[in-house]
């Protein structure tokens, strides 16, 4: 790749030089020529601008249909929709007032809100976020709303504090401000199964009331196992593929491609047929008289992990295969001929050279496994819920966009961090590996 890049630039320089030479009068001094050349090299060349122009359509599409949806989703996760939209005057007044216990205008706006609420039943629902966050505050609001006198009065603040001294406490307003903020960590806190005290401290929910955090934990554990199994199976397979003769290797490789491009539905379905009550495992075991009754093998974590490993195996094999092809088997032969036992030869002479492929494969498989939706949704039961199943459930069945977006943001953040590592370790298109290796070699 080094040769490529230098050739690339040197060709450009040559072209520039030639253009300059042709344009120049013979009498021009060397100094002027050099300065003009330097100027020509500094400005972005036409080729560079054209390259950007060629990428522009795809980048525009990705900007609007990929980056924007992701940003919007994260916004939805933190957005506090209900109260902000329903009590505009109150929210505005509260935002302008920075005192611990706000002044008259805020209380007046609250009276307005309550009066509207008395007229319109649907308006009552807008107080729901308060009930979720803080039941006592909700009761306070309800009580004040119910006892509100219909006539106008001189000072709203005085009436509120007179009806309940809690209105004069700074803590009450702290909570109100938090609930009424345009952004809230409510979904985030809920998804992690922690509760927020009025003083702002986080506390883990009691064991029996945790749910979502267990799903997140289970998904990550499953991703770990899938990655491990895919590596343990994929590495020997890739190795065998490199050492095979040309024709069988091509056939097996084509097989992997078929596997890669077959819809994940089919893979899930196939493994369900293996693990089914009347599936091939049960029939075989009953056929040889090992069991009398068919075992209930589905749904289970085992099925999920097996099917997922199977579906993601090509993503492990292909990068490892790519990196193995760059390593000469002579290294291995040399190690063995110098007396290393085979296992040690592989560990010391071969494995380190193929780590970029391993890293890329593992990262890719882990990212994809924690975000896979179709396969778990088909193969798993209620006990094997993954994050992606939960988020689709929230989005489509329950229509709780905030929670769905929060769950999705979790996966996104993990995936984005690992993707960053992925781009650093292995980028076949950038050709970075060869460049780094060659640099390392020349440094020696």
């Amino acid at each position: 790749m080094t040769a490529d890049t230098t050739a690339d630039t040197s060709a450009e320089v040559q072209a520039e030089v030639q253009a300059e030479v042709q344009a120049e009068e013979p009498a021009e001094t060397l100094g002027r020529r050099l300065s003009r050349l330097a100027h020509a090299l500094n400005r972005p060349s036409r080729l560079t601008l054209m390259s950007y122009a060629l990428c522009a359509p795809l980048l525009a599409l990705l900007g609007v249909c990929f980056v924007l949806p992701l940003l919007f989703m994260m916004h939805t996760a933190l957005h506090n929709p209900v109260i902000g939209g329903a009590w505009p005057e109150f929210i505005e007044a509260l935002r302008e007032d920075h005192d611990e216990v706000p002044g008259e205008p805020v209380f007046r706006a609250l009276v307005q809100g309550f009066q509207q609420q008395q007229e319109d039943e649907a308006y009552k629902l807008t107080l729901k976020p308060f009930s979720q966050q803080n039941p006592e505050l909700w009761r306070l609001l309800q009580h004040s709303a119910d006892t509100l006198p219909p006539e106008h009065f001189a000072s709203a603040k005085a009436w509120f504090i007179g009806s309940d001294p809690a209105w004069a406490e700074a803590d009450t307003w702290k909570v109100i401000r938090r609930v009424a903020a345009p952004y809230t960590t409510h979904n985030l806190v809920n998804a992690l199964d922690v509760t927020l005290n009025p003083d702002g401290n986080l506390r883990l929910k009691p064991e029996e009331r945790r749910g979502y955090s267990l799903v997140i934990r289970d998904t990550l554990i499953m991703g770990f196992w899938v990655t491990l199994f895919a590596l343990l199976l994929g590495y020997p397979l890739a190795y065998r593929l490199v050492t095979m003769r040309r024709t069988p290797a091509r056939i097996v490789l084509s097989g992997f491609l078929v596997l890669l491009w077959t819809s994940v539905l089919v893979k899930a379905y196939g493994w369900m047929a293996v693990f089914d009550r009347h599936g091939i495992i049960n029939e075989t075991l009953m056929g040889i008289g090992f069991i009398e009754e068919p075992l209930a093998l589905r749904p289970s974590w085992a099925l999920l992990i097996v099917a997922m490993t199977y579906a993601l195996l090509p993503f492990m094999i292909l990068p490892i295969y790519q990196s193995m092809r760059r390593v000469s088997l002579d290294q291995l032969r040399a190690a063995v001929s110098l007396g290393a036992p085979p296992a040690r030869a592989v560990l010391t002479a071969y494995l380190p050279a193929t780590t970029p492929g391993i890293a890329a494969g593992c990262l890719l498989v882990f990212i994809l496994s924690i975000g896979y939706y179709t396969l778990p949704a088909m193969a798993a039961g209620a006990a094997e819920t993954t994050i992606s199943m939960l988020l689709v459930e929230f989005a489509i069945t329950i229509a709780n966009d905030g929670m769905a977006a929060t769950m999705a943001s979790f996966v996104l953040v993990i995936a984005a961090i690992l993707f960053w590592f992925y781009m650093r370790t292995f980028a076949p298109i950038r050709g970075e590996i060869t460049r780094r290796t060659s640099q390392r070699v020349s440094a020696r």
């Binding site: 950007y52 990428c55 990705l62 249909c65 065998r240 596997l259 994940v264 047929a273 293996v274 001929s337």
Partner: protein, 271 residues
Amino acid sequence: MIARGTLGHVRYYSFRGFINLLLFLLALPMLLVLVLSISNASGIEFPPPALSLAHYAQILDSPEWRASLGISLIVASASALLATILGTLAAVGLARIRLPGRSMLIAIVIAPIVIPTVVWALGMRFILEQLGLLGSFTGLIIAHTVLTAPLVFIAVSLSLRRLPPRLLYAALSLGADAVDAFRTITVPLMMPGIVTGVMIAFVTSFGEVALSFVLRGNALKTLPVSMFDGARVNVDASQAAVGSVFIVVAILVTIGITAVRRWHDRLWGTP
């Protein structure tokens, strides 16, 4: 291959046996789907009582399955076409190695295939909902294009990397201008990459479930979504017939890509 004694032989052959077993296990689920699709049992049953093509006939007769197949074909073709145009242009643009910000741009371009589909599908759902495009062909085709354009980009980029730069320099030194050199050298040499890209884009879109499921709205069920809906309620053998359609398409694509590469290598020589 590597010097070995008797123990080495045992090790070597047990390794090969392990690999062959693994390859068999990799083929097994696909084979089961194919077998189930031509069995005459309505549920999962091994070994099949008798062979029949009833499941295929049932699918071809049912208007819902036919409609789903039609939707899938339209979405996959349209998005593959769009993805090929956009992906190829971007691949040519990003082929310049000394482009400022190149690795950043590449990261953005290939992100849609690494970031889990269901995550951005959800974001896409929010956006399409705002635009009133949820459950429309336009929305679905655009979303599938986002998913498949990076695949085309990678396929074309790889074929551009195989392209020896000396050919371009030869053309330039023989007096061709940049446009001529691009037209006569680069385009024919990246043709197999483009054809590969089209086919990968098509097959990926054709089999995509999570994206179509999240974005489907009320109507617009693609073939995979129909199969998915059915299999979640009850696993039966008619879904195996649909499943084997996906397998056959994947096999055809693999054969197609291999054929294109062979033909191209014969025409231009292996670089």
